[in-house]
């Protein structure tokens, strides 16, 4: 039986991660940035799963669960912040969030 080689998974993971990074840096909408973080996390998840399967070990899968849990928690907190920001600033543009200094 032919299987998909691990390189393909890794290349896909790298592409997804790169897209996430680019979006993270260049997008201005907070929600989009948020989504790009999720994209990066899941790209890493993909790499973990691929390695777990290739080496026939459970460690990678365990990591994936951790990442999912953390991502869920982060989404909950992050979206809460986003809602508050949207209420205060009436905007989702990160350019206007410039008080994180000193």
């Amino acid at each position: 039986m032919r299987t998909v080689p691990i390189e393909w998974f890794l290349i896909l993971s790298a592409i997804l991660f790169g897209l996430g990074v680019v979006a993270f840096v260049f997008k201005r909408n907070v929600i989009t940035i948020f989504m790009s973080i999720e994209l990066m996390l899941n790209a890493v998840n993909l790499a973990f799963v691929a390695f777990a399967r290739a080496h026939n070990q459970l460690d990678g899968l365990v990591f994936v669960f951790f990442v999912i849990v953390v991502a869920a928690a982060e989404a909950a907190v992050g979206l809460g912040i986003v809602i508050l920001l949207a209420r205060n600033r009436e905007s989702l543009n990160v350019e206007r969030m410039n008080l994180l200094k000193f």
Partner: protein, 655 residues
Amino acid sequence: MPILSHLWIILALPLAGAAINGLFGKRWPQSAVNSVAVGSVSLAFLAVAELVREFSHLAADQIPYVGNYFTWMVAGPFAVDFSLQVDQLTIVMLLTVSFVGMLIHIYSTGYMAHEGGYYRFFSYLNLFMFFMLTLVMAANLIVMFVGWEGVGLCSYLLIGFWFLKKSAADAGKKAFITTRIGDVGFTVGILLVFATFGSISFGDIFAKASGMAVEAQTGVLTAICLLLFTGAIGKSAQLPLYVWLPDAMEGPTPVSALIHAATMVTAGVYMVARMNPLFSRAPVAMLVVAIVGAVTAFYSATIGLVQTDIKKVLAYSTVSQLGYMFLACGVGSYAAGIFHLMTHAFFKGLLFLAAGSVIHAMGGEQDMMKMGGLRTKIPVTYWTMLIATLAIAGIPGFAGFFSKDEILEAAQSGPNAHFWLWLLGVVGAGLTSFYMFRLVFLTFFGAPRYDEHHVHVHESPKNMTVPLVILAFLSIFGGWFAAPRLVGGVDYFERFLAPVFSAYAPPMAEPAVIVAEPHTSPAVTLLHALTGWPVIVAVLGLLVAWWFYIKNTDAPKRLAQSVHALYTLLLNKYYVDEIYAALIVRPLLWISTNVLWHVVDEGLIDGTVNGTASVARQSGGQLRKLQSGNTRSYAAWVVIGAVVFTVLLVVLGIR
């Protein structure tokens, strides 16, 4: 044996008095402060008296009796116990210190009655008694050093008692700093003792020293003795460190009497006598001690000739008398030195207290040129001061005669006698007699030279005159222990102290040949003693003073004019203060100001501190620009950081 087994009680009493008065005395009435201060010292004296009784029952092999209380500090082989000891020398010192101290405490209740800081004065005075008693009872050099420095501290506090007066504060500092110079030598001496003998307790040191030979040339013992003597020079105001003592007269008069005449300044003499096993083995050091003593005795007597401040005369006289004590120790007659120490405590304490009474009567005037004719107005003060003067001048029958005679005899025929030492001593004795009678004649005789309408001369209260009378009694009879010697008999004082000075004495090079004195009858011996040079110069001094200040009262002025240069030199105390100022004080001030202050402190230290701060501020000022507050720039930094780490890890392979 309650006191002998609890020697610490003698120390604890004045310490407790100092603590109680210092902590609570401020709110108490004077009578309460009095009873604590005088009470604690009187109890200490009673304890000493009881100690003497118990001591007299001790067997000879139990002396010195050492009481070891606790181990104070241990550092490798260096161990210091808090231990006290009692031997004959300690007994003499304890009796002198506690008795004179008690009298001066009583006197102070009268003298200081109208002064502010009453409780503070007595707290310091009690603290001084504590340290002085520690000094004389110490059984090792470190405990002795504690007392030594402690009395220095109290001296500083009491000289500067009127600290709002700049001259008093300065005098306190001068005393403290000058004696510190000597104490550097003392400290090094103690260290050298430890390095040489491996112990600092007197018993161990002396036992080991007694196995050492007398150093013909200089050696380690000579070094130790000279270093220890440096401390004594500072503490006992000898040349060249005597300059602080005359200035110390800025303190209240009872302080001058107790600390700067009777007790503290004699600590140096006590220390030399205590360390006699070492000094006896270092003839070179002994010679130095004798020379310093003799020269100081003569030198400061000459300054005393022309001073007009009543306390300054007494101060130079004290320096001079301390010189005699060192002369005695230096020529090997420690007992005579300690004897003079004791009689001096009586008559010089009395002189200062009487002078205080005069100053009190004159309403604060200290210049003898503005006194005169006080004889009938303050008779008790006059008679007691006259007795003390007769004693210090060495008129036969008074205490000072016996002790000074012994010193001069030792300088003439003792173990390390030398003609020049004797001559300096004898001439100094004549000068002493002259300036002391000058003081008495100027103060008590002649016509009043003050404004009788403004100064209401009055005799001092009872609590001041009673100590005067007691001390006057001692100034006469305090020397009579030695009286039998005059008729060829035993000197009881010397015999009492003999164990201390003979126990570890070096063996004689040749068996001491007892010169078979031609047998003379006691009467002839007495006649010899009474017509010796010391007596002749003493009487001569008296007569000259009488001629100058009673017979021809304008003679001093004419003499001063005819030898004007000498007179000015003496009046300005040989310009020693000015010389020290030019040679030491001003260069030090210059270095302190221009090097240590402006270069080291402002340049180096401030530069380092300020430089560190300014580097932090500058770099922070630059780095804060990174923190723009823009969320996206932070995101970019995160990415850049991740990229950098990836490059480091993957591409460069750094882990």
